[in-house]
């Protein structure tokens, strides 16, 4: 035994030796709940599996923890304590989605946990709304306030007047929220994400009968044609697609795949492509139809697949041939006709070839048509459910919980119309309008969870006025973001590294998988897991709610769900052992030997071409072309995504890869356009739409279309802590709330703007690296 180990063993007593044995430098996977902090060896590294929550992708992570010293406040006294601290996040090497890899945002997750601007306990508003006057209250009081409010609503037969607005929640958290709302008696659990997926889901449902997000097998594709989907940065599952991209490029001896990227802006994804085509905004579907026309005309399509697995081909063929000849497509899209012909041939002749669309292609009034036309390309080359093609990842076989029955208390209110529905389709503008008008019924209480509508919804909808009409707003945010700063009650959630939750990645990696997150460290502050708060509130409100939600803690609910999974996957053996393995591995996924058979022969998809005809439309834009001469192309920042990363200093200081800007916003303008406007790099300009204006410094961007200005989303917070507040501008403020009418997706790429000089407002911080490399790297 080494001297150090001897000393530790003696101080800790005999009980600790089990843990210490062989622990000198060994790194092991650990379930924190099974090993108390007193048993940790100073200097030893312990890894705990969890899941990343910096975007909705659901990558598996492992977190390095070590015993460390911290200062904390106990009874008003500052004391030094030893505690388990999280030191580093890495990708979970076993998780099938990201296989050990992680993006910049995932790496920065520790600055969510240890953020100096975290809310440390429940707060009740005392001053007027927006005045930022709050008092600390206890959890008992917080829950009492919540329960009184909800009980009162129910007694007045107004349970439907509770609205639960959330972001895209993780697997069982979402299930719990849905159960809570149904048991309480409100139909209004409503989900909003700025960069959402409603259009893609609808396109896949109409064409393939699957209201789901598709998994694209880039790794085994030979040719990839992507339409405005920044899949190497922020779109869907960037780490999974980056891994696939790396393999497509250099992972196969003798085969190097080609990536052609079509997008109005030269994005990071475009920069990695072999060819970039700056298409006219909103015309991605037209280009796809043009390509389809040539593939059909030249008989390059997969005839056997078309005959066996598709419907509506004849009408589609006629449409493509008659309406989309290359010359006309070229006029509409601004892609040269000969390029269109060449791409069509390359795409059809280098199979497996993949077409994938999203991002700005979906964010137009004709976004649904764009995606349908793009998916049709995959059907034409028969690339559905094949290696190197498009498939739908099966869900892990969780067993469903018994449904929550209607009760006399909930029957009436559950049948009230959902506030976000218009003729069966989701409409966020309608939701906000109804909040404002109080028709067909007024909202009494609004819960906000993992959503920040005052930052991510266009103010033109009248969000602030609508919120003003709602008497009681409760925020479950861990930070005082714009919307939490408007709330009457803030009940801060744990951050994700302190929490129980799980996620089934969608789109996944082709094999059934779920990642499970467990508390990696003890909660730093007097915060509570929102799921636990909901369970507490439910059982306090009444017996009927307790019957629907009988679990003491969310952890118990999760464990019951995994009991069902254990039964279904039929691995036999003891559940506790299975549960421990799940905790240690960070989730459950189909074992490798079973996976290969599944992903090599996924179920074939059938494809219906006819929606391309029925949903065909041209994009419309908000703002007169003469008054507002530029397209506004907003995009999720690789550092901040939709703004949620802006409070993390690592990400603020990270130079944007395309522009090298740090700590601020910018607007990308084509150098020639800038010359015409009389502005140069670093000059400040106004960007004005029919609905508002913001100012930002100019970056001369050789990858901007001359008629388009590009602005990243993420900065421009008016709250959200010291690193985010009062920094940069939020281009969402400019948006005209046009929608894709069928799916209800926000057409965030359809606004036009004008640009004019503005007074100087400070500097543009760029990291101008010295150009030391000249010839050597170009060879």
């Amino acid at each position: 035994m080494k001297r150090r180990e001897f000393l530790i063993t003696t101080t800790l007593g005999a009980g600790a030796t089990v843990v210490l044995q062989g622990c000198g430098h060994r790194e092991e996977r650990l379930i924190p709940l099974l090993v108390s902090e007193e048993q940790l060896v100073p200097g030893a590294q312990y890894w705990t599996a969890s899941v990343c929550r910096q975007c909705p992708a659901g990558c598996g992570i492992v977190v390095k923890t070590m015993l460390g010293e911290a200062t904390t406040t106990v009874d008003g006294q500052t004391v030094r304590v030893k505690r388990r601290q999280a030191k580093k996040i890495e990708g979970n090497p076993d998780h099938p989605l990201n296989r050990g890899r992680l993006c910049a945002r995932g790496q920065a997750g520790l600055q969510v946990l240890y953020n100096p601007d975290r809310l440390q306990g429940p707060l009740r508003r005392t001053g007027p709304r927006g005045s930022d006057q709050y008092v600390e209250i206890t959890w008992e009081e917080a829950i009492r306030l919540l329960v009184e409010r909800l009980q009162g609503l129910r007694q007045r037969h107004q349970a439907h007047a509770l609205v639960f607005l959330t972001g895209r929640l993780s697997k069982h958290t979402r299930l719990l929220v849905e159960r809570f709302m149904r048991a309480y008696g409100s139909p209004n659990h409503i989900t909003y994400e700025l960069f959402d997926d409603a259009v893609e889901r609808r396109a896949n449902e109409l064409t393939m009968g699957r209201e789901a997000l598709a998994t694209y097998d880039l790794a085994r594709a030979r040719y990839v044609l992507s339409f405005s989907a920044p899949f190497l940065e922020t779109w869907r599952s960037p780490v999974y697609y980056s891994l696939g991209f790396g393999s497509m490029r250099q992972g196969r001896p003798g085969v190097r795949g080609k990536l052609v990227h079509v997008e109005p802006r030269f994005s990071l994804t475009a920069a990695s492509a072999d060819e970039w085509l700056p298409i006219n905004p909103g015309t991605e579907g037209t280009l796809a139809m043009g390509l389809a026309g040539i593939i059909i005309e030249e008989n390059l399509f997969d005839r056997a697949f078309i005959e066996r697995h598709t419907r509506g081909f004849q009408a589609f063929r006629q449409l493509a041939r008659e309406e989309y000849p290359p010359e006309r497509v070229s006029e509409i899209t601004a892609i040269p006709a000969e390029t269109i012909v060449r791409l069509a041939r390359e795409f059809a002749q280098h199979r497996p070839s993949l077409a994938l669309g999203g991002g700005a292609a979906a964010a137009h009034t004709n976004g649904l048509f764009n995606l349908i036309a793009i998916q049709a390309l995959n059907a034409l080359v028969g690339n559905l459910g094949r290696p190197g093609g498009l498939s739908f990842t099966p869900d892990p076989p969780f067993q469903e919980f018994p449904p929550v029955p209607e009760t006399p208390q909930t029957r009436e209110s559950l049948r009230q119309p959902r506030l976000d529905r218009v003729d069966g389709a989701t409409s966020i503008p309608a939701l906000i309008e109804r909040w404002r008008s109080g028709q067909p019924y007024a909202v009494d209480t609004l819960f906000l969870y993992e959503v920040n509508p005052l930052f991510t919804l266009p103010p033109a909808l009248g969000v602030r006025e609508a919120l003003q009409k709602i008497p009681f707003i409760v925020s479950f945010s861990s930070f005082k973001d714009e919307s939490a700063a408007w709330a009457d009650l803030i009940l801060p959630d744990h951050t994700y590294l302190e929490s129980w939750w799980d996620e089934v990645p969608e789109p996944g990696a082709g094999q059934p998988a779920v990642g499970l997150a467990q508390p990696v460290v003890k909660p730093l502050y007097n915060t509570r897991l929102t799921s636990d708060v909901l369970l507490h509130v439910a059982r306090t409100i009444g017996d009927d709610m307790r019957a629907a939600l009988p679990w003491e803690r969310f952890e118990d609910f999760l464990k019951e769900a995994y009991r069902g999974l254990h039964r279904a996957v039929g691995e036999g053996g003891d559940f506790e052992h299975f549960w421990e393995e799940v905790l240690k591995n960070g989730g459950w996924w189909m074992p490798d030997d079973q996976r290969s058979s599944l992903t090599d022969h996924p179920e074939p998809q059938t494809f219906d071409f006819s929606p391309a005809l029925s949903h065909r439309r041209q994009p419309t834009f908000a703002g007169d072309e003469r008054a507002y001469p530029f397209h506004l192309h907003i995009y999720p920042s690789i550092a901040f995504f939709d703004g949620r990363g802006a409070n993390q200093p690592w990400l603020q200081e990270m130079p944007d890869p395309m522009t090298t800007v740090a700590w601020g916003s910018w607007v990308e303008i084509h150098p020639r356009t800038a010359e015409q406007l009389g502005v140069s790099e670093g000059d400040w300009v106004w960007i004005e739409s029919p609905h508002g204006r913001i100012q930002a410094p100019v970056v001369l961007f050789p990858g901007a279309r001359p008629d388009t200005v590009n602005i990243p989303v993420g900065q421009g917070h008016q709250a959200y802590g010291r690193y985010a507040k009062d920094r940069g501008a939020n281009p969402v403020r400019l948006l005209t709330p046009l929608m894709e009418p069928v799916s209800g997706g926000l057409a965030w790429a359809a606004t036009r703007v004008k640009v004019s000089k503005a007074p100087d407002r400070g500097r543009l911080v760029t990291v101008g690296y010295t150009r030391v490399h000249t010839e050597a790297e170009r060879r």
């Binding site: 430098h25 395309m658 050789p702 030391v772």
Partner: protein
């Protein structure tokens, strides 16, 4: 004795900056803030450089992650008056912080501009400091610092191998940047072992080194971007 080296495949690299943040988290790199960033004083041991080529619409961008090249003939080493920068037996260009007196000669002599000087003592807002890695010392004002190939990870891997009575295996050591890289563009390992992944990749026809003509003999080997040729 290993000869540590790295291969970075520019045909895979997307410029996503995951390596940059991973390095910050692993190596206790400070955040300097907007003011100091504007003066070019960001602390990065690895940076992603971006180069434009061509004109719209035929514009291209190339990314190249640049870190200390761990040169065999390192220009930074002979100019240090106090032997703070030296060559370790495994080919690492090491920096001894408590010897450094801050002349900055080394940074001046580095053709890759990968050395970073501490103009100030740095401060972590509480509780951000709880994240700091105890395996890596905090540098104070007046010290030069640089990429170490995550030497603390090399030590950990060696100790673990010793505990288990074996040699270090290929893949045991992964610097933070390599570990994170989403496209697997970066590979690290022993260049003296012809079977290691890094040696295999280094034999590519696309291999080159930065400013090779200076004779610095870097241990970082780049693979240039490839072209698609119609099969």
């Amino acid at each position: 004795m290993a000869k540590w080296g790295m291969v970075i495949d520019l045909d895979r690299c997307t410029g996503c900056e995951a390596c940059v943040i991973a390095c910050h988290a692993e190596n206790n790199l400070p955040i300097v803030g907007e003011e100091e960033s504007a003066k070019g004083r960001q602390h990065n041991w690895i940076r992603v450089e971006r180069y434009w080529e061509g004109e719209y619409p035929h514009i291209r961008a190339r990314f190249i992650p640049v870190l200390c090249q761990q040169c065999d003939h390192a220009p930074c080493e002979p100019v240090c008056p106090v032997y703070a920068t030296y060559h370790n037996p495994e080919g690492l260009n090491a920096q001894v912080y408590n010897r450094c007196i801050g002349t900055r000669f080394c940074a001046n002599n580095c053709p890759y501009t990968v050395r970073v000087f501490n103009w100030f003592d740095h401060h972590w807002e509480k509780p951000l400091d709880e994240q700091l890695n105890p395996d890596v010392s905090i540098r104070t004002r007046g010290m030069m610092e640089k990429c170490t190939f995550c030497i603390q990870r090399i030590h950990r891997a060696r100790h673990q191998a010793e505990d288990e009575g074996r040699d270090i295996r290929d893949g045991d050591v992964q610097p933070a940047c390599v570990q994170s890289c989403p496209t697997e563009a970066m590979v690290f390992g022993d260049l003296d072992d012809p079977d290691s992944r890094v040696s295999q990749r280094a034999r590519s026809r696309r291999a080159f080194r930065l400013l090779e003509e200076l004779g610095t003999e870097p241990s970082v080997i780049y693979l240039k971007g490839d072209e698609w040729v119609e099969p």
